[in-house]
Amino acid sequence: MATLFQGLPSSTAFSSSNKFNHAPAPTSFSERKSSIVTVRSDARWSPVLNSATHKPQRLITNAVATKADSSLASTSSKPGHELLLFEALREGLEEEMERDPCVCVMGEDVGHYGGSYKVTKGLATKFGDLRVLDTPIAENSFTGMGIGAAMTGLRPIIEGMNMGFLLLAFNQISNNCGMLHYTSGGQFKIPVVIRGPGGVGRQLGAEHSQRLESYFQSIPGIQMVACSTPYNAKGLMKAAIRSENPVILFEHVLLYNLKDRIPDEEYVLSLEEAEMVRPGEHVTILTYSRMRYHVMQAAKTLVNKGYDPEVIDIRSLKPFDLHTIGKSVKKTHRVLIVEECMRTGGIGASLTAAITENFNDDLDAPIVCLSSQDVPTPYAGTLEEWTVVQPAQIVTAVEQLCQ
């Protein structure tokens, strides 16, 4: 199945941790958002100067960058290069494959087809059919095969065409991938990366909209990370490949076409660190993956209403970066978790427990966790929207929390 998500979701606003930039239009704009730029699905940019005429859904918020680089110079003198998130993943992958001949990719349609989301496009021509292996549709077996290869020292990257399909490989991921290092008394390392798109997309149906991070989070011995911007996608991909532990990299179907500028120089991010998206004082909002953009959209509204939310993209789903989270909780004393998992047994549930156990004395109010509804994701567009947390709900939750 090759659903290439072309359009950006209309209700998603997005920001990046770097200064936001436009490709062709040399307009500079201040952080006060005096002009609003509309991003089209084919990445053309069209500045809309009259804010009164813009549609609310096409808001782009400008997050305060954590990076020092926040100059307002025009595009042409900006360092780095621009690309889409899936291209950033591919760049990271390609760099690691060039660096280490033991790195190989296996999955359905990753080779000749180029990957159903184009993450592996062109790699088979460059590295050959054995290093970018087109597997038959046998998730359990090719995941097991990747794990067996990793036991001998290869570093395979196993792609699930959709994370939901990896449920078929759960036995291999849980029992072999996660546990072999332990049950062999440390003899075998399993340096695999298991990656793929998950999350609720655009009316993809219940079975293709699953959030597997909630199912995998209990498996001992694995690490889980979720990328959300081109910058962290490339950095996390490289870190995951270099890690000696099995890492599950969660991508999101709707984020593949995010455009951003990333540095030219090589960089590898830490797998266990969270990302400070927007420092603030009043409330800590913890989020990851696509919900980061809903949060940032809500943050804009909240700022206008006078709140100062601190937004942290937790990135590391297992283990949690309790250091960064703890520092934030000690500062703001209020926590809101916004996630796409379902309420029962999701990442938010574990995070709530972890924060309560560790930072209970620092909390002025109970932790609020906004999650998706505990239902199979419906097909109908309106129903699907109600399944997932929307920016308006985030705003309401913050207002209630900060009373």
Partner: protein
Amino acid sequence: MALSRIASSTHASNLLKPLSAALSIRRVISSDSTDPLTIETSLPFISHKCDAPPRAVDTSASELFSFFRDMATMRRMEIAADSLYKAKLIRGFCHLYDGQEAVAIGMEAAITKKDAIITAYRDHCIFIGRGGTLLEVFGELMGRICGGSKGKGGSMHFYRKQTNFFGGHGIVGAQIPLGCGLAFAQRYSKEENVTFTLYGDGAANQGQLFEALNMAALWDLPAILVCENNHYGMGTAEWRAAKNPAYYKRGDYVPGLKVDGMDVLAVKQACKFAKEHALKNGPLILEMDTYRYHGHSMSDPGSTYRTRDEISGVRQERDPIERVRKLLLAHDIASEKELKDIEKQVRKDVDDAIAKAKECPMPDPSELFTNVYVKGLGVESFGADRKEVRATLP
């Protein structure tokens, strides 16, 4: 089980080795002689989509002697494990291999330690065959730190990285895709080695077997799938579980060979043939017709689904150690007394290993949290009581 000697072996009888003073009998062939000896297998090989190897197996006196000693060690080890389990020193699941020793020994004789072996949970003897020591076996079974996996794996998780033994897996059939991966890595690195992936007649009905077989055949991976057919998937006889119990044929497009798994020489010949085949032509299925005397595990008496007559019948007619004993005696490589001495020595070695393992300490509580991850994450992990036991993962 007719033993036939080929005429060429008679010229070996002209070799007279100098007698040592300790030996009181005149030996035709010395037990450490490496002169080639050719012996025929008990049964012909039956093949599917390939040419069967010849029945005449090249071996030597010393090799036969080592077969006897190694199989006796394995047999004694498994019997000792039985007693230890009944004495509650071994807990949980304990799957014993006695009766099937010929498969482990014959395979080792045909391959090198660079070739990989992966098997399921009936792995104690394969571990020994790959160079594991008796102390490591008993230590692991009793959960001590001297065990092969530091006591953290148990009976079903024996591994030996340095000699390419990849375990030791509890979930039926899950090791087959792993074995496919080992073969993939061998092809990727262009090593001239093969992978033997062992599974049972019960696992032969798993979907992942056929998925792995498809991939191995598609990419010409040097994988040899060995079905250790002991005719019972725990309590279910093969004819009640498989529509087609001719497991060597079930690869369809993959060639197969049916082997008498109780004849160590047949196993050796088949594995040698399989290795040559796999390096040139891709995967092959070997079906070893073997038998286990014990039940599926120590929790299974093994007599509710088969008669005691059947078990004792196989023991009398097809026992692998008895076959080699008869060969050694018939070729005058060893005397009855020498063989009995070996068995006594083996018994002593096993008892010594058990005694040493019993003295070995249990793992320290801090070992609970080691080897979860490869590098330190500084992550907090909890024991059963979250307030009592909190550890930072090393």
